[in-house]
Amino acid sequence: MKERYIKQVKNRLLLSREAEASVLAGLRESFASAAEHGEGEAETIARLGPPRQFADEVMADLGGESFAAGRRQRAVRAAVLTALFAATLLVRTLVGPGLHEQGVHTYNLRPYLLFVAALSPLYYGLAGAVILALPSVWRDLRIRRGEVRRGMGLLCAALFLLLWGFLWIYLLGGFPTYAFSRAATFLLQYPVCFLPLGAGVFAGLNRR
C-alpha cells in the first residue's frame, strides 16, 4: 500500500532528480516514522491525502524552481543530440552513400535528391535539435499549466526517438528502403518532413 502510494506520487512529480529524490526520501521516512509511533499505513495515507494532492502541494512549491533549473539541462541535451546527429551525417559522408543510392531502392526519388542536396548539414542538425526538443517543450508546458502526466511525456519522447532512430539508421545506409512504403521512404529521406509531423503530434497532445 505504501509503495503504491509512493509510486503514484512519483508518477505525478516532475522535478529535478535531486528534488524528487529528496521529497520521496522524506515521504518514505514519514511512513517509517509514523510506523514507529504506532500509525498504520492506511492512517498515514489518510493523513497525507490522495497522491495527486500530495504531489500538487509539492509541485506548487518546487515545480517552478525545477522548471527553471531544468532549462540548462535541456539546452545541454539538445546540444549533445545535435552534435550526435551531426556526427552521424559526418559518418555518412565518410562511408559514402547508403543502400538507397546504390540502386537497391524500389522507388525513384532522384528529383527529390536535388532538394536534399540544397540543405546543409547544419540545417539537418537544427531540424534534429528542434524535433528532439519538442517532447521537452511539451512537458514543460504541461508543468507550467499544472498538468503533470509523466507517462504521456515519455510516450511522446519515445515516439520521436523511435522515428529519429529510423532516420539515423537510414542515413548510415542500414536499411534497404524497399522495406518501406513510398510515404515512409519519403519521410526517411527528408528529415525536414519530421518538422510538420512533430508539430502535429505536439499540437495534438497539447490540446485540452
Partner: protein, 120 residues
Amino acid sequence: MDAKYIQQFKKGSLEMVLLCLLAEGESYGYEIITHLGQRGGDIFGPAREGTVYPILYRLEGGGLIQSRTAPAAANGGTKKYYSITPAGRALLEELTAYWSRYVSCVDGFVESAKKGGAVK
C-alpha cells in the same frame, strides 16, 4: 474564513516557523510535522508532509539548514535530521526582527479599525 487566506498567511510564515523550530534543536521530518501540528495546528491547520518537505528542501538548498542521516532505531531504516546553520540563524534573527515590526504595523491598522467601530 476562506482557506485561501489561511494559505496566504501560511505561505509567508512557514519558513520562519520551521527555522524557529530547528533553532530550538535538531529534528527530523515526522517530529517537525508533529510539533507543527501540536503547537500551531489551530492556526496553521494540519501540518502536511507535502508542504513541509519542499520547504525543508529549499532551506537546505539555500544553506540555511543542514542535514545528517542517521539509522532509525525501530525499523532499520534511516532518518534525516535537520539542524539550523549559522547562515540560517542569522537570517532567522533578521526575520524575527522584521516580524515584530510587521505585527506591530498590522496591529496598528487593526486597532485603528476597531476604534473606529469598523470591526468588533
